[in-house]
């Protein structure tokens, strides 16, 4: 049965790998190649310009501004999202009142909550952006958020939201958090379910409260999952293209206050017809993303706990 085994495997693997190489890997490699040219994207010819695009990128205030916003999001969005995800998952699985015959239980109605949290995950990001854009509509009668504030007597908090320079980026970040918390609730719930009950039992017998249980048992045992979630969420925060492109005022405004790297890339390529420069931005984004992922995986390492 060993005879020709490898030929068999290669025969089956070759077509998908070939498709992958042609349609995924080769454009990828070409992006590097294009980033060294002044290709406009409109004709089939381009001049080789060496590292000029990268020099321009280094000196481009707009790109640094966009990168800064991505970094702000990177610092805040994963932290808030994962913290909320952990908190909700804990409450849904372990944080409830103890009932007879059960060691740990979630709060009442936890199944419904799980469903509600997960809902944004099944809606397309575009639809989410449009919905939230209308929630943030500054009109005091049409804007959901403003009319809600009015209804509860907080007119003082009414705002132009996305039109407000100091708030716009955080309004968009909030949508990002809202859209992803549900996924992590489900992910962490699944991870918590695999923690043996007797560990909790022992802790409870020793008189541990909810917060002790969480910080001393749940979190350490979930660390691997949290770390993976962190990388995943960080990469989402380094993107943010769809939300910013649809929601922001004047494409990354007001006055550049919500600009992000992928939007810069998009405008450079499709509005300014500078594909070479845009490809250089893509390469820079790859570097930033990879650096983040490597550093996270490198420094968040802890010893594994077997259970």
């Amino acid at each position: 049965m060993q005879h020709g085994k490898y030929r068999f495997i290669v025969g089956f693997l070759a077509p998908p790998l070939l498709v992958y190489a042609v349609f995924v890997v080769s454009p990828f490699v070409q992006a590097f190649q294009i980033s060294l040219t002044d290709w406009s994207g409109l004709v089939g010819t381009a001049r080789f310009v060496g590292a000029d695009n990268f020099v321009r990128l280094w000196e481009s205030e707009e790109f640094w501004n966009a990168l800064r916003h991505n970094v702000y999001m990177l610092a805040l969005v994963p932290l808030v999202t994962l913290a909320l995800g952990l908190f909700f998952a804990f409450m849904l699985n372990v944080g409830g009142r103890r009932r007879p015959n059960q060691v740990v239980a979630g709060v009442a109605g936890s199944r419904l909550y799980t469903f509600v949290f997960f809902l944004p995950q099944v809606i397309s990001i575009t639809i989410i952006a449009v919905i939230w854009f209308n929630i943030y509509n500054p009109d005091p009668d049409d804007g959901m958020l403003n009319s809600l504030l009015d209804a509860v007597g907080l007119e003082g908090l009414q705002n132009a939201w996305l039109g407000e320079k100091s708030l716009a980026l955080w309004c968009i970040s909030a949508v990002m958090v809202w859209g992803h918390v549900g996924f992590f609730v489900v992910l962490f719930s699944a991870a918590m379910a695999s923690i043996p009950r007797d560990v909790y039992e022992a802790a409870l017998l020793d008189g541990a409260g909810r917060s002790h249980t969480f910080f001393r048992i749940t979190l350490p045992l979930l660390w691997d999952t949290v770390q993976t979630g962190w990388v995943y969420m960080g990469i989402i925060a380094l993107d943010a293209f769809a939300l910013v492109q649809i929601m922001s005022v004047n494409m990354g405004g007001p006055d550049g206050a919500t600009d992000v790297m992928p939007l810069r890339l998009y405008l450079t390529a499709f509005r300014d017809s500078q594909y070479g420069f845009a490809a250089a931005m893509g390469v820079a984004m790859l570097v930033v993303t990879m650096a983040f992922a490597v550093l996270t995986l490198r420094f968040a390492r802890r010893e594994r706990i077997e259970y």
Partner: protein, 495 residues
């Protein structure tokens, strides 16, 4: 639009309503892919010869395009039965008017016409131009339009001189060139070559409800000062004097830039279009106009929250009588039709007088818009020009006016028709303006400068966060930056 109207009618393209926002690949893919790179980079290298930038050529060019017999009925020599492909921007004006013209083409030349209506002309057609197989006729409009300057310098646009010199469809004794507005011919040039046909005319100005003004006994102001005074009264009546599309601040520029040109004169505006040093700071009209807007902002004459509204939302607020005035273009009547109440009496007013104006009262910004181009390297450029000739007939110009409530470049095509209120008002101010028409190039040539950079400053100015002097200083700095940037193609106008 050059970009101007392009952006406008097109804006729905740039808004969520247009349903865009193609998020690229999730960046998380990067991790997987780069891992894969190491894995298969070696076998893949052989495939790289099919490189993105290696294409080009391939398509037909004018020389090998199908040609038919030139006859009186067929002055351009269209080949019967040769298929035609049209790519029409489907924004504020829809694309039915183009389909109607295509139907006539189909009937006359017994040829298939492949029609695509889209809001993403640029992204969809860029690869086709790069690959050498562009469609024949393109309505290059909308926020995502193709860069015509680049296309023109790279020889992708068909010279339309043959179309201008062809006899018109209605009267063979008249050339097409004599039936269309001279500014259309002027604006459609790149250098000496006429290669863009701006089919429509967009009238820009201050839009209002005639009914509302009459019911309150207000008169449309003649001067900037009168405007400020009237705004005070309007505010006392509990209505916001102005609103604007804060999400797209270039809507404000439709009037702001034109007002500068009216007061300071076209010569000084030309210096601005040409990015000359000090063009903004040395022009006193800039100071007058920007200070006027600063005053409106300081006195809170803008509907609260306007800085976050889309064009649709601002038009809706205006339709509902929450605000009196709105800077906009003549597509607004068609675009806001669903929210316009009966008897709204939509009307447009020309530019205001300042002090020491270079141009007389009644001066109007009217721009040729909806840029139609014919691809030089398409399969059937002659057919493309013929379709434009059909569209320039009186029948189709009137059809356009009826369907989308907008003027075409065909002179006096709407004589004797009964027009909708907004279009009637636009025709009226257009007539009154006579030769005093303003046409601006800045947004068309340097959209990154006007929309993103100056737009950001204007947004702050109208939100009361920026002083006029700072707006002027920063705008000048941004213009200087573009002037020094070698990666931006520069243009010059002489008049």
């Amino acid at each position: 639009m050059g970009s101007t109207s392009a952006r406008n009618d097109g804006d729905d393209g740039s808004t969520p309503e247009g349903g865009r926002g193609r998020a690229g690949h999730g960046r998380r893919e990067l991790l997987r892919r780069s891992a894969a790179l190491g894995l298969i980079a070696v076998p893949a290298t052989g495939l790289l010869s099919a490189c993105a930038t290696g294409g080009g050529g391939g398509g037909g060019d004018g020389a090998t395009a199908p040609a038919g017999e030139k006859t009186e009925k067929n002055p351009l020599g269209v080949k019967e039965g040769a298929p035609l492909e049209a790519f029409i921007f489907k924004g504020g004006l829809g694309d039915q008017y183009a389909k109607d013209a295509e139907a006539d083409y189909k009937a006359t030349y017994k040829a298939d016409v492949k029609h695509t209506g889209t809001q993403q002309v640029g992204p969809k057609l860029t690869p086709r131009f790069a690959g050498g197989n562009p469609p024949d006729v393109i309505d290059n409009s909308g926020a995502d339009h193709l860069d015509m300057n680049k296309l023109s310098t790279q020889g992708q646009l068909q010279d339309l001189a043959a179309l201008l010199d062809a006899p018109s469809l209605d009267d063979p004794a008249k050339k097409v060139r004599d039936t269309i507005h001279p500014s259309t011919v002027e604006k459609g040039r790149h250098g000496d070559t006429f290669d863009v046909l701006y089919y429509a005319f967009t009238i820009y100005g201050t839009w209002y409800s005639q009914k509302l003004l009459e019911s309150k006994g207000w008169a449309y102001p003649r001067t900037l000062d009168e405007m400020v005074a009237l705004c005070g009264e309007i505010k006392k009546a509990g209505i916001a004097p102005w609103t604007y599309a804060g999400k797209y601040p270039y809507y404000v520029h439709f009037n702001l830039f034109a007002q500068i040109a009216k007061i300071g004169g076209m010569e000084k505006w030309t210096a601005i279009d040409n990015l000359e040093p000090g063009a903004w700071t040395s022009n006193d009209a800039v100071r007058q106009v920007v200070e006027h807007y600063e005053e409106l902002a300081a006195k809170k004459y803008f509907l609260e929250g306007s800085q976050g509204l889309t064009h649709i939302q601002s038009q809706t607020a205006w339709n509902r009588g929450k605000a009196v005035f709105l800077p906009n273009g003549s597509w607004v009547e068609n675009e806001s039709a669903p929210t316009t109440p009966d008897g709204f009496g939509m009307a447009v007013g020309a530019l205001f007088d300042g002090t020491g104006d270079a141009m007389p009262h009644g001066t109007l910004r009217a721009e040729p818009s909806e840029p139609y181009i014919v691809a030089a390297k398409g399969a059937n450029p002659v057919g493309g020009m013929e379709l434009l000739r059909i569209m320039l007939s009186r029948k189709h110009a009137q059809n356009f006016a009826t369907k989308v409530k907008s003027l075409t470049c065909v002179v006096d095509a709407t004589e004797g028709m009964s027009l909708s209120p907004g279009l009637a008002s636009a025709s009226k101010v257009f007539k009154e303006a006579g030769d005093h028409l303003i046409s601006l190039q800045l947004q068309e040539w340097y959209p990154a400068l006007t929309d993103e950079k100056i737009g950001g400053l204007t947004g702050q100015l109208l939100a009361g966060e920026l002083k006029a002097a700072d707006w002027i200083r920063k705008t000048q700095a941004e213009a200087d930056k573009v002037a020094k940037d070698p990666s931006v193609t520069k243009f010059k106008r002489t008049a």
